[in-house]
């Protein structure tokens, strides 16, 4: 049982609260990404789990045991740093064996485990090299092997891939996911990269100013963002504002928009979010089956990017909108033309923080 439980954790530096009353659960074997803008407290939360920072209040439990007052060296964590943090005066094999030696594993047994770990990160035979003789990606693999070989209770990664270039990063994402599956380690992963977070994780936690505003499986967080912040931070979003009339949203120009989830009571101001790729342009303006939402708009400009098109539009209530379309027919709608936008009520997500 190596789940991680965080209960009412708060941290303040001077006057500024960095983490405010965080309570969350990282299930055993899960891969959770912490996603949020710079300064939202991702690193702070991760370092509290690691034990480098003591929270002002609250509890941290790893595998059911309260470790709030346990020093870092006794927590049995695996940590991977953005800067690799390999010991430059040791060989790759010595680096990987360092944690084993601290656990009393030396000699032949250690050598076997080191070899196996290096094989897992696809660096067999690199044991005698110095970290300096490796590329950035290889160094990060060694760092990963060093963290994983001790069979930690929890694997903590703070932007481990951000020092790598794009291609190497994608390659390492695949490796990371594979290694996490193979080892079954409970993993907490801090990243700036939304796509990385969505692609790798079982769960994504979105942080905003020291709070977890939403946490759930990637598809849920993406498809059903709860707040304007979550919707905006993860991907692009169109927002429509209006007042609630008979369970639907009436925009300022009178257009009625229906939603999947219930809206607040009639008369209240509300806001809904629609992902740009969920809206479809219906140039002909032919009458639909009435089940879909419909909104007239004018195309301001088109960004042509080969396989995909991005349209910037102004809706009839003068909201600026954005639409992503696949270039499947080769037909591009002209700038300045008036069109109808069509989408499913189920893809219309009411925001909790309406106004």
């Amino acid at each position: 049982m190596t789940n991680v439980d965080i209960t009412s954790v708060a941290k303040t530096y001077g006057q500024t609260p960095v983490l405010a009353d965080i309570t969350t659960h990282f299930a055993e074997g899960s891969f959770t990404s912490l996603l949020g803008p710079s300064g939202s407290g991702k690193t702070t939360l991760l370092r509290i789990v690691a034990g480098f920072i003591t929270p002002d209040s609250g509890k941290v439990a790893i595998g059911g045991a309260d470790v709030t007052d346990t020093p870092v060296y006794a927590r049995n964590i695996g940590m991977v740093f953005q800067s690799y943090a390999l010991f430059p005066h040791m060989t790759v094999a010595q680096n990987v064996a360092f944690g084993l030696a601290r656990r009393g594993i030396r000699g032949a047994e250690a050598r076997k485990l080191v070899d196996r770990a290096l094989e897992m990160v696809r660096l067999p035979g690199f044991g005698e090299r110095r970290p300096k003789q490796l590329s950035g990606g290889q160094q990060q693999r060694v760092a990963l092997a060093r963290a994983v070989v001790i069979q930690p209770s929890v694997l903590l990664l703070d932007e481990p891939l951000s020092a790598l270039d794009r291609r190497l990063r994608q390659e390492m994402q695949v490796e990371l996911k594979r290694i996490q599956r193979e080892t079954g380690l409970t993993t907490i992963f801090v990243t700036h990269d939304q796509e990385e977070a969505l692609a790798l994780s079982d769960k994504v936690a979105i942080l905003d100013r020291g709070r977890i505003v939403q946490m759930g499986p990637p598809a849920e967080v993406y498809e059903q963002p709860k707040t304007r912040f979550a919707a905006e931070f993860l991907g692009d979003t169109n927002f429509l504002k209006g007042t609630v009339v008979d369970g639907a949203l009436r925009l300022s120009d009178g257009t009625l928009i229906r939603t999947g989830a219930p809206l607040p009571a009639t008369g209240a101001a509300a806001m809904v979010a629609v992902r740009p790729e969920k809206m479809r342009i219906d140039a002909a303006g032919k009458a639909g089956d009435g089940a879909e939402n419909r909104l007239s708009a004018r195309i301001d400009h088109v960004i042509y990017a080969g396989p995909a098109l991005t349209y910037a539009l102004t809706a009839s209530d003068s909201t600026a909108l954005k639409i992503f379309a696949q270039n499947s027919t080769g037909a591009i709608h002209a700038e300045g033309s008036d069109v109808s936008l069509v989408w499913q009520p189920a893809h219309t997500i009411p925001m909790e923080d309406a106004a």
Partner: protein
């Protein structure tokens, strides 16, 4: 033949370029000339002169004819008491270097890891203060502290009035103390430079892998600071062996070292050849010690740079 035909076209472009561009060896030489010229005039020539002196039977400034001799290099054999003095000097050198290394490493560690910003700058300046004070003043001020009835005794008697004197002026520890005080800044600086470059994440990585402070110190910090310690040791050991001011002032009667003997040859006995020969012999001994140590170090760290 084929080699000749191959070499020709390759050789012609530099030759053609020489008309309007200086060859690269020329600019290299021009850039190095001031440095090496200065080294030649300031260090190499005097050193050569001294080396030449060391083979002469008398200082070549009187009217006596100068002849070649090796007798000064036999001084350690003909005057066996010199061996004892040389040994004492080496012991003082080892103690001073050892104490400087221990104190300097931990001072540098505290400076590099426990301070930041302004506090660090201020502390660095305080550490450099002994550099700025006149050496003579520095050493004489220690006599005020260490002599019988000096500050040290005053301090002791203020807490324990009946106690005897613990002043240890004119002893070997007093010499070592004065030398450590003078040369500690070198060690602190070289260790500090090695230690500040260690990324916090490296220490944190060691902690996360289960290392306590002792392991971090011996397995991470010390090995990573080793180049700084070595440089500091050389910067301390060499001048300490030749030092004469501290042994004279703080050592009194016991303060006879190679440094003072050599100084005497130049200032008192006016026997420059013997002084020069003794200096070069000590230089050879020091180089031999370093060669041995660097061999041992290299083997113990597994061929590490």
């Amino acid at each position: 033949m084929p080699a000749d035909t191959l070499a020709r076209p390759a050789a012609s472009p530099p030759g053609a370029a020489a008309g309007h561009r200086l060859p690269s060896w020329f600019s290299t030489a021009a850039l190095l000339l001031p440095t090496y010229g200065w080294l030649l005039i300031a260090i190499f020539l005097p050193l050569c002169t001294m080396l030449a002196f060391s083979f002469m039977n008398a200082t070549p400034m009187g009217r006596a004819p100068v002849v070649f001799t090796l007798k000064h290099y036999k001084a350690f054999v003909t005057q066996p008491y010199l061996v004892g003095i040389a040994w004492d000097s080496l012991v003082i050198g080892f103690w001073t270097t050892f104490l400087c290394a221990v104190l300097g490493f931990f001072a540098a560690l505290a400076l590099a890891r426990a301070t930041a910003g302004r506090a660090r700058e201020t502390l660095l300046i305080l550490i450099l203060l002994p550099f700025w004070t006149n050496g003579l003043v520095r050493v004489f001020s220690w006599t005020m502290v260490l002599r019988e009835g000096g500050f040290l005794d005053v301090l002791l008697h203020s807490v324990w009035p009946g106690a005897g004197s613990i002043g240890f002026l004119y002893t070997r520890p007093a010499i070592v103390l004065g030398l450590v005080h003078g040369y500690l800044p070198y060690m602190i600086l070289t260790c500090y430079i090695a230690l500040v470059t260690i990324d916090d994440a490296i220490i944190e990585a060691a902690q996360s892998l289960g290392a306590r402070w002792w392991t971090i110190l011996t397995r991470v910090l010390l090995p990573m600071a080793l180049p700084g310690l070595t440089t500091g040791a050389i910067l301390t050991f060499v001048p300490v062996i030749g030092s004469f001011m501290e042994p004279r002032i703080l050592g009194g009667r016991v303060g006879v070292t190679m440094g003072t003997v050599i100084e005497d040859q130049f200032t008192q006995a006016f026997n420059w050849p013997l002084g020069a020969a003794l200096s070069f012999t000590m230089l050879a001994v020091i180089l031999a010690i370093f060669a041995t140590f660097s061999g041992v170090l290299r083997r113990s760290t597994g061929g590490m740079a």
